[in-house]
Structure formats: C-alpha cells, structure tokens
Symmetry: C2
Subunit: 452 residues, 2 copies
C-alpha cells in the first residue's frame, strides 16, 4: 500500500486498492443521485482561452499539441484556441451550462466525477492527475439561498458514508466578511481576505503586521479583523459574538443572516459536522456568499478535502447569468489517505466469489454451464482454464482470495468448498448462493482507527 | 439528440443522454465482474517513448507541455520522456503489468474502462476523445488457449445485454492464415495480411492485383489466398472448406485447430453470435493467434465496435514474457449510434423519483425529514427550495420528468400524487415506495427498431 507511482504525481492503484476507490466513487454517486443530482461528463480539454478566462493564472495548465502536427496548426502557447487539459470541473461546467442552456431544466442539479490535471513542476511531488467529485446547483437568473444549506447537508451525508475519519465542514460567508471589513473602514476587502487566508500558515501576529504594512490598516482595524477570524461555533452562537464586535454594514448583516441560516439548519441535521468558522476565506475570486472548506479531524495538515461556495455568476450568456452553489471533493486525496493509513481495505482483490474447478479438460463446457447458472443469480464466477491437480486449482483461488471452489463429480453431483474453513458440502448450481458477506468484495472500514 | 459537439471530435452528452451511456457502462462493469475481471485504471499519460515503442507510428498522439514550462523541461517533440495522452488502453496496461508484476496474481484478469485520445486532424471530424472498455487475461510465461474461447463468450454476453442491434463477432486465427500463406509459397505473410485487410474496401479483384504486383504472387497463389478469405461459417463447417484447399503446413494446422476450438464452443453457447470469418486480418502486428472483430448487423459501415486478439508477448520484463488475450469495446462509438438511431432512451433526465413540495417556507426542514425517510429506502428525492404556488412546484417536477410530488398538510398528514395520471392518495413517509419501474430512470430499448 505504499508503492511509489512510477511517474511522480500520477498515482495508480493495484486491483485491491482500486476496489477501495471504486467503493468511494460508488458511495458518492449513490448519495448524489438519492438527492436528485444528474450526472454529466465534460470533455477533458478546453481551449486555453476558456481555461484562463477567470484569471486563474496561478493554475498550472497542460497544453496539448499533436505529435505529428502540421504547419499552421495552433501550437504557440499564446494561442487562445490551443487545447489544454482542464484543471478543475468548474470551468468546463460553466461552459457546458452556457452551451446547453436551452436543453437544461433550471435550477440544474448536477454531479460530475472526473479526472483533472495540473502541470505542477515534476520535482514538487504534487498530484498532477487526480479525480474530483463535484456537485453544483445552478439557476437561470436567480437561485434560492436554501441551496446553500442543502449542499452542505448533501456533502455531510456523502462524507459520512465514506471510510474516513471524522470531518468538519467549515462554513463562512463572503458578504459577512467583506461587509465587516468595509464597516470597519477597510475597503480593499480582497486584500484583507488574502491576508486572513494566511492565518493558519503564519499566525495572527504576522497577519496583523501584514494588514498594517500592506493594506494600511490601523492596529485597531487589524485587531477587529483578527477577532472576527477567531470566531467559530458548532451552533448559531457565533452570531452573537460577531454582533458584539459592534460593526454595522448592510452587506455584513445580509451575510450574517445567511450564515446563521446555514448553521441553524445544519447544526440540527448534521450536529458537529457543519460548523461556522469565520476564518475561512477561500482564495478564489468568484465566490460571493457562502464558502465551505472541509478538514479531516486529526489530519488537518492534509488540507481541505472538500471546498466550494456560492457564486453569483458562474457564467453568462449575453445578459443572462447563471448563479450557483457547489462543492468539490478531492477524491484522490481522500483515497490516498485511506490507503496509506489503512482506514479501509477490500476483503479480496477480485470480484470472483466462486472458482469452478475442472476434473478433466473435457468438462470445461459443463463447468461453464454451472458458472452461467450461478451468474444468473448475481454470483461472480470464474472457471478453471485447465484440469490441473485440484490442489493447484484451489491454490489459484486461494492466491486471489476467492472464497469458494466448486467441484462436479463424474456422476454429475456437485459440491462446494469454503477454502477458508475447509467446509465442503453438496450444492445445486440452480439454487446455491454464498453468504451475503461473500457475494461481493467487502470494503471493511477499520472503525477503531478511524475514530481513535 | 443530434446536437453537434462544440469542439469537433469531443462529444458531450446531455444528462438524459449520459444516462444511456451510464447504463452501457454499468452493464459492461456488471458483466465483466460476474466473470471475475478485476478493475484497474491507468494514468492518462505515458511517455512518448512508451507510446511509440510498439511501432504504432500511425497513431496520432497528443503531446503535453506545461503552459508555464521553464527552461530545460522536456518540450521538444523528439524527447522520448515527453508526456503524451494514451491512444488506447493496451499500451498502458502492458506497462502496468510489467511494473506491478510482483503484486499481481497470474493469470491476471482485468477490465479497464477509460477515455483515450487521438490527435486526429481537426477537419476530419473523427473522434478525438472516446471511451474504451477493455478486458484482457494475461499469463506469466504461458496462458492456456481456453481463454481465447472464454473471452469471445464474455464479450458476446456483454454486447447481448446492451440496447444495440444484433451483432457478429468475427473470428480468425493468425497462425492459420500465416501458415496457409507459407504453405502456398507466400513468405511475406504480413504483406499478404495487409492486402487481405483491404478486401472490404477495394474488393477481391483489386486485392488479387495487389498480391501479384506488390508481393510477386502468381495468379494461382492469389486465387488461393482469396479463396481462404472468402470462407465463413457459423459452425465448424469452415474447417472442411479450408482443408479442401489442400494446403499443408504445421503452423496452419495449429491455427486451424485453435479456430475450430473457438467456434465449436462458441457456436454452442452463443449460436450465431460468434462466427468464423477467414477474411479478418487485423492491422496490428502484435497479434499472434486468434483475432476478433465485431460488427453490428445492418450497421457494418460503422466499422468494428469490438476488436482484439491473442498476443504471445504483450510485454516483457527481462526474460519474463506476459502472453495474453483481450478485446476492446468502442463505448463512445456504440453510444453515439444508440443515441443517433434512438435505439434506447432514458425515461427521465434526473434520478429523482419524488419532489417534496413546500406548503410554506418554514416547512422546509420538515420536508427534509420526509425526504430523508424516503432516501433511507433508496428513493431519490428532491425538496422544493421555495414555497411557490403548488402549480409551479408541480411544473418544476413535470419539466424534469419527476413522476411523483409529495404534499404535507398542516395537520402533518401526507399525500403523494402521480403527476402523469393525476392519482393522489394518502402516504406514509416511513413505508411508501414508488412502483419498481419508477424508482430509477429506466433505459428503454426500442426493441422493434433494434431487430427490424
């Protein structure tokens, strides 16, 4: 479980590890669909012009060129029509919504689970290919605020169903923060957010210095900004603390009311999971209200495993705008942690529950009949390819963790053996089924380790 | 269903179309797992050196470069360490097997469903991004021949479960063909195969000319080669026809015996689906025995939708070789055909079965309780975000094809309405379930159209 990727930043899993990843993906899909999210996929490439439109120049982008390109084809790196791999699922989704607006029913709820790529410098050892799972609800012109509450609850339910440690979805509100900064006389709200974003890294004393040095804040203004950022609570009690700072500003009041709504409902439906944390800033410019970040308790240094927020205008088509709210789960980051910490593992490396053995080479076709009968009831079956000694056929099953081997005698009678216990008994291919826990590979969470 | 991709060669689906694709992918996954194939994924990129190793210079490859690359990073197109997108799943699988040989149990059965990319010239309108679904069984040193039979049967079962027209898996054997050519005195067997591969395109008269002009065949040799290529049968009767051509050669006899084994078993288990077709050549050099191609009956001009074969050495690690047999389904090609010909469609565009309406804005939380109760039994539910007029809320459901809307009265009593029939009746969130056919979106095949 600790093999190194053969190409730095491009993780690959063994079959048994992949089963853990598939389990994570299946749980997410199932949860999102239970909440009415429809699936889409977008192409892996966008034009460079599209990718850099939102000013995301800090993202490292992989540009494409045909190895056998001819003269005159786009190849120059400055060409906005050059194709490049998407670095997230938000930019492609925005394009998809605009292109297909006439075919979608708004508010449009979608989930999207795909790989994304970041052209990080090879030596930094960061992931250069990874899977994200995004949910968004996008409106045509407007979008009720309630979706900001709902999405936090959907994510809490999805994460709660995964074999991961306890987590905290930390919620803040951009209107609250920006209105507060304006209310205390700091107009460069983006600058203040950038400084506050460094809190965990450099500490409050340094942030206070930055606010004064770079933004011209007075010591009192810096103190107030830091006081706001220090407030957090699992319930709506944060609101009184915030109001006690004595700031008045209309935008601030709106944001405070919104954050209260999220926390009031979430603390009731997912107690302890969704908390108010007034230090959350989120780097991305396009968020305009609620912002979310998520940490695994005891694994905070892993960074946020699920982030997102509300945006007034994901995209625009003429005068039509599409506001939305969404979150993105870092699936690969989670799976790497699950595997490296042994939070969960698959009970076997193959889907196969039964190996049908061969008494002699001519019985292969009859063995396929047995296999077909079992498969008809959803049991995964392999048939031995050669009539080797039974000991060797059993060893084949054992090496794969296949729990049952099937024997057909010359008289046509059948027996099935549990190779773990050695129990062997008569069986009928038309009715026999394995115990439910042996039907499919099970993903066993190590509960004790998760919550220690 | 006939929208054009906004970027030529990069198809994208609407949510309702994506449900059809998901259905195809789910059927394939389920079938492969029932047959004991384990899933893996490989990274999207390989080095250019790896991709071109097998001499696949006719494949158009997309090379990657970091948009913000620095001096000294690989960027030249001749650099074998440059990264490029894979153009199939076979080359990456070969690398994966070699890298992980110490961690895999052989024979290793895997399925792999991923996107691949081909840097086709933009103006040709060919797919540049598409999904393939591959199955392979790979041995360590040797691999019983029986897997050649088994794989044809697994694919026949998988394709038979899809909403596509009838199909034919055409099987031939390289040993048979090459041995035959040698037996009649044509030593450039690769050259003969290349000519025979053009049969469908240019016809037998032109192929006879090519054999004589380019390979120096006599008219008699050309005639025999074309006679062989004209043989096909649904059962083993092809073998007598082949033998009647009077050629003797050891390799030819081996190949003939192998092809007989495949057709004998397959004609019993999948009658009419797996046929001998002695014209199948397959362009790829690495096949060494059985070769497969698949056409949809009535859609032959679509080309092969599933191809593959036996290879003696997919990869080597020192003196260790890994022989295998595998097939690859062109998922995107199939899905495009299903959608463009309306072979199947989803019964609704969203997973949602029930919309819980709001009588007033304060009842949102209570509505979430109803939704949670229903979801607990696997029913996909959305809750209205605003207490609009009931007519508007019902219209929201109607536009999405959500079949049921839920009402909770002030006294706490519940009713559910089927908006298609208008039927409305009392319901209990703790026990109510929709009819099975409404639980999930159904993919309805247009059976009549498929088999007309």
């Amino acid at each position: 479980m600790a093999r190194k990727a053969s190409l730095s930043g491009f993780p690959e899993w063994l079959p048994q590890e992949r089963l853990v990843e598939l389990h994570v993906l299946d749980v997410l899909r199932r949860t999102f669909e239970l909440h009415g999210f429809a699936n889409i996929e977008t192409r892996a490439v966008e034009t460079v012009g599209q990718l850099l439109r939102k000013g995301e120049i800090d993202k490292e982008v992989y540009a494409l060129s045909r190895l056998q390109a001819e003269e005159g084809e786009p190849a120059g790196k400055q060409d906005p029509n050059q194709l490049a791999l998407h670095f997230d699922l938000t930019v492609p989704f925005a394009r998809y919504v605009v292109e297909n607006a006439g075919h979608l029913a708004f508010p449009f709820r979608r989930y999207q689970i795909q790989k994304v790529w970041r052209g990080e410098r090879p030596q930094e050892g960061r992931a250069r290919e990874f899977t994200q799972a995004d949910i968004d609800v996008v409106g045509d012109g407007d979008l009720p605020f309630r979706y900001d509450v709902e999405l936090a609850l959907v994510i809490a339910e999805a994460l709660g169903a995964l074999p991961i440690p306890d987590f905290r979805i930390r919620v803040n509100n951009r209107k609250l923060a920006e209105g507060f900064y304006r209310g205390i006389g700091l107009e460069d709200t983006a600058g203040v957010l950038r400084s506050i974003d460094k809190l965990e890294k450099v500490g409050p004393a340094r942030v206070a210095e930055l606010l004064q040095e770079e933004l011209g804040a007075t010591p009192g203004q810096a103190e107030l900004a830091l006081k706001l950022a220090s407030i957090r609570s699992e319930d709506v009690s944060f609101a009184d603390e915030v109001r006690a700072l004595g700031v008045t500003n209309e935008l601030f009041e709106t944001g405070l009311d919104e954050l209260e709504q999220v926390i009031a409902e979430a603390s009731r439906r997912a107690p302890g999971k969704v908390i108010a944390d007034l230090s959350i800033a989120r780097g991305l410019d396009y968020y305009t209200g609620t912002v979310y970040e998520t940490v695994l308790v005891g694994h905070e240094q892993l960074g946020s495993i699920c982030s997102g927020g509300r945006y007034d205008s994901l995209a625009a088509k003429g005068s039509r705008t599409f506001p939305g709210v969404g979150l993105s789960i870092g699936v690969t980051r989670l799976v790497m942690r699950i595997l490296s910490q042994d939070f969960a593992e698959a009970s076997r490396s193959v889907p196969t529950a039964v190996l049908v053995t061969l008494a002699d080479d001519d019985s292969w076709s009859a063995a396929q009949d047995v296999a077909a009968a079992l498969r008809g009831r959803g049991i995964a079956v392999e048939v031995a390819a050669k009539a080797e000694k039974f000991g060797k056929q059993i060893k084949y099953a054992d090496r794969r963790g296949i729990p049952f081997v099937w024997f057909t005698a010359e008289d046509g009678s059948h027996e099935v053996k549990d190779i773990r216990s050695g129990d062997q008994s008569a069986a009928d291919p038309a009715v026999w089924t394995p115990p439910a826990e042996d039907l499919l590979p099970q993903i066993a969470s190590r509960g004790a380790m998760l919550h220690s």
